[in-house]
Symmetry: C2
Subunit: 221 residues, 2 copies
């Protein structure tokens, strides 16, 4: 039998996405949380889905909410890193915002499970998830800052408050994915394009898109 | 003791929003589903929150998913009725779409509980909720049809596929409400205004808003 964690024997052969036991646990939990609900999923159920003992799971995660926290982090760590890098870039704001929106929509669509559907869980309002909420707020503020810069560049073409909406349009792919049962392929072009138009920006989209994807480069999927 | 349902005595005095036992059950369930999670709420817990016996609850709803179905219906019945009426109106498409978006954002914000947060529950993908999903799809198609008509009126100002986004922008108030812990007061102006601009429509917003609110009139909150 394959060894899993510190010396615990595995009950069944590996059958999960992931190179490590930790990654397998996260993959199984993500599937169960999004398919059956967070409240209806137990650590025992997750261990069974991986094919390990519950005690082995506890070597990696002390509690179910630690697994949820790790999964939520996966949804914002990379876009937040990109947003921090873009904040110091000298590229035009429209290119930087396009890069962030394109990258974020792409990663929300490419993820194996639709983890953004967990953002609306009431559990996330507890103190346990304050650090996650703060990081997601940081990402939201990056969107708002870049959007305000695009509006400033574009003249007065946007309605007051429009800088609040690009972050919401990006996250709307979570609802589309949930409704359609699959990631919407059109979204990674439609949403960044629509965001710039919503902000009153009337420049050429095709050239901006090319520059944006190049700018996001080292983070590209 | 007050009588509740067919001859069952009430355990405690009324303390819930709602004129009838059915309305009180729905109010208690909406609070528990949105505050504690659907999976973590039992019909026993709902009955306790109303102050009635579990057997009394079953006179009104045979199962927990019947309560969820009734709550979900509350979120789309009125906008869907308005959308059906608007489909036969001879007002310009921009006024009709504004009326629908304004009314829908307003009712999603005014509802006592943020029930739209339940749209992403995995339970909703089951056959039990097929009828609700179909009605929400109908509402989505009304948005797409009106949005396509606005794009046609506005010339070629919108990016291809933009007609898919107004429905998503309207529903984004659910996320805002969840994040901010309160309904966003600015949304019922910002979102309909932004929707028309996103579709390339460059007419006067203030006059369109006035006409739209009048058109939605009989449905106004």
């Amino acid at each position: 039998m394959t060894q899993v964690g510190p010396g615990r024997p595995r009950l069944e052969p590996r059958r999960r996405a992931g190179q490590t036991p930790r990654a397998e646990i996260l993959d199984a939990a993500a599937e169960l949380f999004t398919a059956n609900g967070y409240g209806s999923t137990s650590t025992r159920g997750i261990a069974d889905a991986v094919g390990i003992r519950q005690a082995s799971l506890y070597h990696h995660f002390a509690a179910k909410d630690d697994i949820l926290d790790a999964l939520l982090a996966e949804t914002i760590t990379a876009p937040l890193e990109l947003a921090e890098r873009l904040a110091t870039s000298t590229e035009p704001a429209a290119v930087r915002l396009y890069a962030l929106a394109w990258f974020d929509v792409s990663q929300l669509c490419a993820a194996r499970w639709n983890l953004g559907a967990l953002y609306l869980l009431p559990e996330l309002r507890s103190e346990r998830f304050a650090a996650f909420r703060e990081r997601r707020d940081e990402l939201r503020r990056h969107y708002e800052t870049l959007s305000a810069a695009v509006i400033a560049d574009a003249g007065d073409g946007a309605v007051p408050g429009a800088e609040l909406l690009p972050f919401r349009l990006v996250e709307s792919v979570i609802s589309v994915r949930s409704d359609e049962g699959a990631a919407p392929e059109y979204a990674e072009k439609l949403i960044p394009d629509a965001i710039l138009r919503l902000l009153g920006w009337q420049g050429e989209l095709a050239r901006t898109r090319t520059a944006a994807i190049e700018l996001a480069g080292p983070h590209a999927l």
